[in-house]
């Protein structure tokens, strides 16, 4: 075998690594010495996309100390600059050898960003403030790509431009861009009223949007449609209140448990808020928590910094091991819904875990309402008929009973739900709360309300939550009350978040629409800032088989904001003092709500007392920390 003699090369690349050519521009420095040459060798950078030669030689004071015997050491520094197409390449740094060939002394990877969209205004000005209603022009260039559309954006304005104007000055500035010669543009029309920095927004032939800032501000105060009374330079009124309060850490447990919560819906559901709050508190106390959902794992993003692990049913079935390598000690089935029950039983059998079942609703009533039949009729059906009728996201009456009876313990959101448990069954009432990081007494953002209230002295109500078969009737009462109050000359705006699963308004939909701001489904942590806009919170409803057995999860949030809460004498309302803690109605129907809102609007003392009463009640009764500590004790007793 022939062995080619190699020169003795020394060298290093000193540009920060990993090598990145921002906006397509390569700039690398380093040094290289060849012991077999009296002078520093020429250096080049080779990549599969092209070769860049050394662009300058740099003096080095440090290298001679390393190689005192080599006279070339003092001038062995080099710089390589140039442009390469976007991509990631292996970059070989090579030096010329005594026989004229190139020998590699360093290999690195090089990421080259694409050349950005470049654009500028230069007609009539290239920088500064332009107040005249004139046509403007400039150039816009995306190397190697064709612009199919270009607009100027400033303030609330968007002005289209004509393209392909000749620019003989650009090819010299951008030799790598063959399309530079026709990169000029001009606005189609003269400027119109608007104020703000100018951006150039282009659409490339491939559909991609590209945007470039300029050094120009357009400030056109008036035009045919904007009079001088409209100050376009004014500041936008911003809804404040995105802040949160950090919480301290609870004391650590001396017996950490592995706990799996099984939810019947996604992380976007109200149940998930409770589970997430408890799981976060339990993890902070040293337990390990995982929460399984049937689908939509991406809804975990609805929760801010969850401390627990989110997984799908499928994940849980495939592998369910906690960080300490152990199985779940306990599975907390969040309701008796069929999907929850089936997964819980499967996993509990496999991992020999204890089962705790949580009840948060009258599942029988929900089943009856969802199927549109009486529960007593459903009870009479055969097993086979029920099996066919009950979907996975509802509770099967017989399976649920057996599931509860076989569980090691149960938790209920309200004491009335204990009626569904076998006598003597271990049970804990889990008092729900609001996330104290976000839900705390907030003042009304007056400046924003001045913009929001299109009629003076408007009362703002706020309701967050979905409308479904179970609450459709009472939500209709709330909307009817809003319509009635406005009809009576009491301006009321209802801010509403959440989705409408059923058409619940019928003929009043059109009439009530001007008084309702529908925001759709928004992230839970954004609610408090919107809730701060409200004067009064209303929970519609009346005592019945559905409401008596539930605890609306929004109630702790209403109370925590420190506003008067109007609610019916059922579930939480049954234990509140009317006129002190809240405005408690025997029936929070349209008539009751109208009466309550009118009274609160007229009686400032009552309003203030109930606002303070709500905040006090929240501070005294709603704490996820306390609830989680009670739950941890309950778990500990079950897993001894």
């Amino acid at each position: 075998m022939n062995r080619v003699a190699k020169d003795r090369l020394h060298g290093e690349i000193e540009t920060a690594r990993p090598l990145l050519a921002r906006e397509g521009k390569v700039a690398v420095i380093g040094w290289c010495l060849n012991e077999d040459l009296p002078v520093a060798p020429p250096v080049r950078l080779t990549t599969p996309a092209g070769t860049l030669p050394m662009t300058s030689r740099l003096d080095r004071n440090d290298v001679p100390r390393l190689f005192p015997s080599l006279p070339a050491a003092g001038q062995c520094g080099f710089a390589i600059e140039g442009v390469l197409p976007a991509g990631v390449y292996p970059a070989r740094f090579e030096a010329q050898t005594t026989d004229g060939s190139w020998q590699c002394f360093k290999t690195l990877s090089l990421a080259v960003e694409p050349t950005p969209f470049r654009a500028a205004l230069d007609e009539p000005i290239g920088q500064g403030i332009l107040c005249d209603r004139v046509r403007v022009g400039g150039w816009a260039l995306q190397s190697g790509e064709t612009l199919s559309e270009l607009v100027l954006r400033y303030g609330h304005r968007e002005l289209p431009c004509t393209l392909l104007h000749p620019r003989n000055d650009l090819p010299a500035l951008f030799p790598e861009a063959p399309n530079a010669v026709l990169a000029g543009f001009e606005s189609r029309d003269c400027l119109v009223a608007g104020h703000g920095p100018v951006r150039l927004r282009g659409r490339l032939a491939n559909g991609r949007i590209v945007i470039a800032s300029t050094k120009v501000i357009f400030s056109i105060p008036t035009d045919e449609n904007h009079g001088p009374e409209l100050d376009l330079t004014a500041s936008r009124t911003i809804l404040p209140g995105g802040n949160c309060i950090p919480t301290d850490t609870p004391p650590l447990t001396d017996r950490p448990l592995n706990i799996l919560f099984v939810l019947h819906g996604s992380f976007g559901s109200n149940s998930a808020l409770h589970v997430a709050a408890l799981a976060n508190e339990l993890v902070a106390a040293g337990h390990a928590c995982a929460v399984a959902v049937p689908e939509d794992i991406e809804t975990l993003a609805h929760h801010v910094r969850p401390l627990f692990r989110g997984l799908t049913y499928e994940d849980a079935e495939r592998s369910l091991t906690f960080a300490n390598g152990r199985d779940p000690d306990l599975i907390h089935a969040w309701t008796t819904r069929e999907n929850v029950r089936q997964l819980t039983q499967k996993l509990a059998d496999r991992h020999r875990s204890k089962i705790v079942v949580h009840l948060e609703d009258n599942e029988q009533e929900i089943l009856a309402l969802s199927l549109g039949r009486n529960f007593s009729d459903l009870e009479k059906l055969s097993d086979a008929e029920l099996e066919q009728l009950v979907p996975a996201d509802l509770s099967h009456p017989r399976h649920a009973r057996r599931f509860l009876a076989a569980s090691h313990g149960a938790t209920v959101i309200t004491d009335r739900l204990r009626e569904f448990l076998p006598p003597g069954h271990a049970c804990l009432t889990l008092s729900p709360a609001a996330d104290s990081r976000y839900f705390f007494p907030r003042s009304i953002p007056r400046e924003f309300r001045q913009v929001l209230d299109v009629v003076p002295h408007t009362t703002v109500l706020f309701y967050h939550g979905n409308v479904h078969a179970s609450n459709a009737a009472e939500m209709r009462e709330l909307y009817t009350a809003v319509l009635q109050l406005n009809g009576e000359g009491h301006p009321v705006t209802l801010i509403r978040t959440g989705l409408d699963r059923v058409d619940f308004l019928g003929p009043i939909a059109g009439e009530v629409a001007p008084f309702v701001i529908e925001l759709g489904q928004i992230r839970h942590q954004w609610h408090p800032a919107l809730m701060a806009l409200a004067d009064i919170f209303v929970q519609p409803g009346r005592p019945d088989a559905f409401n008596d057995y539930r605890f609306p999860s929004k109630l702790p949030e209403f109370f925590s904001l420190g506003r008067p809460v109007v609610l019916p004498r059922t579930n939480l309302g049954a234990s509140l003092r009317h006129g002190i803690d809240a405005y408690v109605l025997d029936q929070a129907d349209a008539a009751g709500i109208v009466r309550a809102v009118r009274e609160l609007r007229c009686d400032r003392l009552l309003y203030d007392r109930l606002a303070q009463g709500a905040a006090d009640f929240a501070a005294q009764h709603f704490s996820w920390r306390r609830t989680a500590q009670a739950l941890a004790k309950f778990y500990a007793a079950l897993t001894v």
Partner: protein, 180 residues
């Protein structure tokens, strides 16, 4: 709640219009930020894709090198085994060689001994040969003498006197047998 003086509808509408315009400004700014970020994300995705391709290529190369390494390792192991086997054979040969050398020395001693014995025996043989030659010479002389004497006996016995005195010799033998 009714303590503040109510602004006129014109003021409210103007304020609302202004805030709507300012909101539109913000919406357009956010659109630009979104689209700019989206473009950057696309670029970053492409770079990530390219980086992934490069990594894949290098992984493939690394895989190939690992395979080559494994083969070389196997060859090395084989060679080492062969070296071991050869060493064992060599050691055995060395032991055998040492034993052979010992044998050779012993044989050489034997050879020397035998050579000296041989020399001695050769001398003895020479002496014996000489003695034999002498004995042969004597024997030849004696044989000639015997032949001569036997001739004389035959001549004697062929005489008439010997034949006529035969009976005397028989009586003489008989008598000597009786006496004994």
């Amino acid at each position: 709640m009714k303590s503040e003086p109510a602004p006129s509808e014109t003021v409210i509408l103007q304020r609302l219009r202004q805030q709507l315009i300012l909101s539109q400004v913000r919406i357009m700014e956010l659109e630009d930020i979104r689209d700019k970020s989206s473009g950057r994300c696309t670029d970053a995705e492409k770079l990530t894709e390219a980086a992934q391709c490069l990594v894949d290529q290098k992984l493939e190369e690394a895989g190939h090198l690992a395979k080559v390494h494994d083969e070389l390792q196997a060859q090395f192991e084989h060679m080492r085994h062969m070296q071991h086997v050869t060493n064992e054979a060599l050691n055995l040969t060395r032991v055998q060689l040492a034993s052979c050398a010992e044998n050779r020395a012993q044989l050489q001693g034997d050879v020397v001994l035998l050579t000296s014995q041989n020399a001695r025996l050769s001398n003895t043989v020479t002496d014996l040969n000489r003695q034999l030659t002498e004995s042969n010479t004597i024997s030849t002389a004696r044989l000639e003498q015997i032949n001569q004497l036997q001739g004389e006996i035959r001549t004697l016995k062929a005489t008439r006197s010997w034949r006529w005195t035969g009976w005397l010799r028989t009586i003489g033998r008989t008598l000597s047998n009786r006496k004994s």
